[in-house]
């Protein structure tokens, strides 16, 4: 990663990044998040600035053949986070904490994830709203949020926006933000300086990955129009249980792995259901991510780290 002179050349930076497994370690440098590669190595090299972690799709309670022990693999991921040589500033969780929105599943997730001793900023996945009254998620994680759980906060000069695109889904449709949330988003960013680095995180990809499997957000493009003026926008998602990235103008889209089970590449299977792989391959397809932001540099570095490389 040699072109750190300024930010215009982000594409090149992205090209030279390697995408590996489990967690994405995100670095925000001067405005553009880039992933740092494998967690352990990358952190040591790029330790200055703001570094935070992304964990996603824990699916506590999942016990099907694709991974009969999703709790165990979450514990492994947390163990790797605890062992990091540099402690991240905080963590974001991009949803599907639970598999069936059971109290015991949320309890397990909280118990395991809290061992990192990091602040965790959550957004929900569709699996977190399956209890009959759709209230367990909000009761646990909704303090200080609007609507179904959206909010924003600032850290190290970066503006973070957590969105909810998993409620009130429409027949035949994709992920959905809805008018209330879009209006809130427009107001939230309106008076911010265009030089403020923006990180948006939500469960379902905000861009259209594969509509045949519902992998996209129908009003995601509308949300992005409010972010056009910003020089650096990074969109972090989960839901598809695999690493995928796209760069479009000033916007970098990135999805993180699950810690529970892999899903097939778009169109590579009859359905997006949990993908059973060889036992010794499973941990190469699960993981987290790390993101680092450095002042006066344009790129955020994103590093996806598998449980096993």
């Amino acid at each position: 990663m040699s072109d750190r002179d300024d930010g215009v050349n982000r594409r090149k930076v992205l090209e030279c990044m390697t995408w590996v497994g489990t967690g994405v370690l995100w670095t925000i440098a001067g405005g553009v998040p880039h992933s740092l590669g494998i967690m352990g190595e990358a952190v040591a090299e790029e330790a200055k600035g703001l570094t935070f972690l992304q964990i996603s799709d824990s699916h506590m309670g999942f016990d099907k053949p694709a991974n009969p022990n999703a709790r165990g693999t979450l514990e492994e991921a947390v163990g790797k986070i605890i062992a990091l040589p540099q402690k991240p500033a905080f963590m974001i969780h991009t949803g599907d904490i639970s598999h069936l929105s059971k109290v015991s599943e949320f309890d397990d997730a909280d118990r395991i994830i809290s061992q990192t001793r990091l602040d965790v900023h959550y957004v929900p996945g569709e699996h977190d709203f399956l209890d009959p009254e759709q209230k367990l998620y909000r009761d646990r994680y909704g303090a200080g949020t609007k609507g179904a759980g959206w909010y924003s906060f600032d850290s190290n000069g970066v503006h973070f926006i957590g969105l909810v695109n998993v409620v009130d889904l429409k027949a035949g449709g994709l992920g959905n933000l809805g008018n209330d949330q879009l209006e809130w988003l427009e107001a939230d960013v309106k008076d911010r300086s265009a030089s403020t680095p923006i990180v948006v995180f939500a469960h379902i990809p905000l861009w259209t990955v594969y509509p045949e499997w519902g992998w996209g957000t129908q009003d995601g493009a509308q949300a992005l129009t409010y972010l056009k003026k910003f020089g650096s926008v990074t969109v972090l998602n989960g839901h598809i249980h695999q690493v995928m990235q796209k760069v479009e103008g000033n916007v970098t889209f990135h999805t993180a792995r699950s810690t529970a089970f892999p899903q097939p590449a778009p169109g590579a299977a009859p359905s997006p259901g949990p993908m059973k792989v060889e036992d010794d391959k499973l941990r190469t397809m699960l993981g987290t991510a790390s993101i680092t932001f450095k002042q006066n540099e344009k790129q955020l570095a994103i590093i996806d780290t598998p449980l096993k490389s």
């Binding site: 099907k64 053949p65 694709a66 598999h99 069936l100 929105s101 569709e126 699996h127 399956l130 009959p132 889904l169 429409k170 027949a171 035949g172 449709g173 994709l174 509509p211 045949e212 499997w213 519902g214 009859p270 359905s271 997006p272 259901g273 949990p274």
Partner: protein
């Protein structure tokens, strides 16, 4: 209309809970309420469109390794609980019409139930 739909939902749930006890297989004589099964495989409702007589109980059974849930666009019934693998949900359709439904977890999954007026017997509602 709404009240009848709600009572139908309750009946549907009751029927669903005893399906394993043999209601579905109680015999093919005309007086027995009709029952139709819809499978959920590979994120697809199968069959995707079903035409039934009023009074028919439709039972959805999830065969995937991921939960699905049934919701109907006209709110004729309350959405089902999340159906884990092999879980079922049943609803008895008493009012003729076309019902578009979808999986509220994976809304790209859609299906249709066409309910025709029952002939040759009096429906009470």
């Amino acid at each position: 209309m709404l009240r009848s739909a709600i009572s139908a939902a309750l009946i549907g749930a009751a029927v669903g809970s005893v399906l394993a006890g043999g209601v579905l297989f109680a015999g093919a004589q005309t007086p027995v309420p009709a029952a139709v099964a819809v499978g959920i495989d590979n994120f697809t409702f199968n069959p995707q469109t079903v035409t039934v007589k009023a009074g028919t109980t439709v039972t959805w059974t999830n065969k995937d390794d991921i939960p699905h849930g049934i919701a109907v666009t006209n709110n004729a019934f309350k959405r089902s609980q999340a159906l884990d693998t092999d879980d079922s949900f049943a609803f008895t359709f008493t009012t003729p019409g076309t019902y578009q439904y979808f999986c509220y977890i994976h809304p790209h999954m859609t299906g249709t139930i066409v309910v025709e007026a029952a002939t040759g017997s009096n429906t009470t509602q």
